[in-house]
């Protein structure tokens, strides 16, 4: 079998091939390492690739389980893990200089669960430093390049995760989503990205950014693979006190029809800057959903326009507190030669953090500081309540809400780096979901000027199965799950 047929596959197809003896986890793992060698010089999706010996050992253990009947849905499936998720014994950087040389002595809960399921971990994915960014250009190491266009960003912050899946370097990737960091890069790279309801997946071992917003989730080639992954990694975790005691079967509604399903389309998501090609692809996707029997209706969520401000107050405020732990004392880099602890910490943080991380720490510190707390942080938290109420009311009328995932296709490298606020606008369609703690999924819904467009489906809290059901029905009908044009290599 060719490398391409073993690397551009879904996990469900792979499992069928394993079970009928068509291929082995070892062969598939080696095919992925080969693919990584071929395309990494261009994509830079990985920050760390595990040694062949390590990957083969994981694959052989998977093959044994496939033989002796103890395999799970993800046994032998090659994964990439975003590099802000802790992996025992494997360098974890969050794409920041300040974590230079850090080797976690423990696994994140999601990583332990993947290992127990027999998944194969290939390596760690590039990202915007501490997951702060929408283009991956904030990586302290190197920007990721979108497999769909040589001078295009993959989106962010899980840009490495999305690019790797699109380019056939991994079958599934784990990302994290604080304001769209799974869904927006999935949209820009033409793959599926799913952010589950806040609390369904443990955050233990995720390097914290905005704790009330962060959620781990999958990026994959199909909706079904996303559901299977969340089935494996979700569930109560005593190590994360915000993890929910709900165990949904995320794949339960896949394959059910959507006849009579009520879908709301809020007009505020057709923002001023939306590209005509994105709008056309989105509107066509609504026609497809109608063709499947769904009742599509325009609606209004007026507070959408305020979501960006709420997010860029709350997320940096939480970040400024979370990132205070990086002091050069316990791990990571440290600037030596300063006279005292205070100066040493200031010097380490000053040289260890990149510009966007500094901006957010400063915004957050300001918003939380005496005299400004009420005007910024408290106000943002109150508007957060209003946004949650607005969604709550909308979900009385609609089963799900459909929007474009991003107002644009993948933009050019360097296009938005000079103006931080322009970059923030890339998240305008994904941010409200995190503010309200909702589930959201992005599925490919066509191309605009040769670049992928994403359709986003939102559901109420713990309505994940319905979002997946609608996304799956759309995916099966529209079949936009395309592979990027070759070569992905230089």
């Amino acid at each position: 079998m060719s490398v391409a047929s073993e690397t551009q596959t879904s996990a469900r197809d792979l499992r069928a091939k394993y079970l009928n003896g068509e291929t082995t986890a070892r062969d598939v793992a080696l095919a992925h390492l080969q693919r990584i060698k071929e395309v990494e010089p261009r994509t830079h999706a990985f920050l760390t690739v595990l040694d062949e010996e390590d990957v083969v050992a994981q694959a052989q253990a998977a093959d044994q389980r496939l033989e002796n009947g103890t395999a799970s849905a993800l046994t032998g499936v090659p994964f990439l893990i975003k590099d802000n998720i802790s992996t025992e014994g494997v360098r974890t950087t969050a794409a920041s200089r300040i974590l230079d040389g850090y080797i976690p002595p423990f696994d994140a809960t999601v990583v332990s669960r993947l290992k127990e399921a027999g998944a194969i971990i290939l390596g760690k994915g590039n990202l915007d430093e501490f997951a702060m960014g929408s283009s991956n250009e904030n990586s302290a190491f190197t920007p990721v390049v979108n497999p769909w266009g040589e001078n295009r960003v993959p989106g962010g912050s899980s840009g490495g995760a999305a690019a790797a899946v699109a380019a056939g370097e991994a079958v599934i990737a784990l990302g994290s989503d604080t304001g769209g960091s799974i869904r927006q890069p999935a949209s820009l790279c033409g793959v599926v990205g799913f952010k589950p309801t806040y609390g369904t997946v443990s955050r233990f071992g995720l390097i914290a950014f905005g704790s009330s917003l962060d959620q781990i989730g999958p990026i994959a080639r199909t909706v079904a693979d996303c559901a299977d992954t969340v089935n494996t990694i979700s569930g109560l975790d005593p190590l994360d006190s915000t993890s929910l005691d709900h165990k949904l079967d995320f794949a339960e509604y896949l394959g059910r029809d959507i006849d009579g399903m009520r879908i709301g389309v809020p007009r505020e998501y057709i923002v001023d800057g939306i590209e005509p090609g994105v709008r056309a692809a989105f509107e066509k996707s609504l026609t497809v959903l109608e063709g499947l029997g769904a009742i599509v209706e325009e609606t209004s969520l007026p507070l959408t326009d305020h979501a960006l401000a709420v997010y860029y107050i709350i997320a940096p405020s939480e970040a400024s507190a979370n990132l205070s732990r990086f002091d050069g004392v316990k791990y990571g880099m440290s600037v030596d030669g300063e006279p005292n602890a205070r100066e040493s910490i200031e010097a380490t943080r000053g040289s260890g953090f990149g510009a966007e991380v500094k901006r957010r720490i400063l915004i957050g510190t300001y918003a939380l500081s005496a005299g400004y707390y009420d005007a910024y942080y408290k106000k943002a938290q109150q508007v957060r309540t209003l946004i949650r109420r607005e969604f709550h009311d909308a979900f009385q009328k609609f089963d799900v809400i459909a929007t474009p995932t991003s107002p644009t296709v993948a933009f050019e490298l360097g296009e938005k780096t000079q103006d931080p606020f322009q970059m923030y606008l890339s998240d305008v369609c994904t941010i409200p979901v995190n503010i309200a703690g909702l589930p959201g999924i992005s599925v490919p819904c066509g191309l605009s000027e040769g670049l992928p467009v994403g359709l986003q489906i939102l559901a109420p809290q713990l309505g994940d199965r319905t979002a997946l059901q609608v996304a799956h029905a759309y995916e099966q009908s529209a079949n936009w799950n395309l592979t990027p044009p070759e070569p992905c290599t230089d």
Binding site: G101, Y102, I103, P105, F106, G199, S212, P238, S241, T242, L303, D305, H306, L308, A309, V310, Y312, I313, S320, S324, D327, V329, K330, Y331, G332, S334, D336, P339, A341, R342, E343, S344, E346, A347, R349, G350, F353, A355, K358, R359, I361, L362, I363, T365, Y366, S369, K378, K379, Q381, Q382, V383, R384, T385, L386, R388, P420, F421, Y424, G437, Q461
Partner: protein
């Protein structure tokens, strides 16, 4: 956009609160960029939030207590191996009180 929301001294003060050393060039850049970003936030003032409770968490998360049982801790050697400066079984820091 109002680029005068923050002064140079404001930025220096915030950076000090955040234990972040930034040079004069960065201070100028941050003053301009942060003022611009904060100007976009002023739209929130238009909304009436009188009596609206703030949302800190979106789920019904409440304080969780675990049973007081001992559990495995991180392995000391591997944990200390990450510290830039170590003295025996301790992490070494610069003087806090001079």
């Amino acid at each position: 956009m109002n680029s005068e929301i923050l002064s140079v001294d404001d930025v220096k003060h915030i950076a000090r609160l955040a234990a972040l050393r930034i040079d004069d060039e960065e201070v100028q850049m941050m003053r301009r960029q942060l003022s611009d970003i904060l100007a976009h936030f002023q739209t929130l003032a238009e909304l009436d939030t009188e009596g609206v409770p703030p949302t800190g968490h979106t789920t019904d998360a409440h304080s969780v207590m675990r049973d007081d049982e001992d559990m495995a801790a991180l392995e000391r050697d591997r944990t200390l191996a990450n510290a830039p400066f170590v003295d025996g079984e301790f992490v070494r820091v610069r003087p806090v009180i001079e």
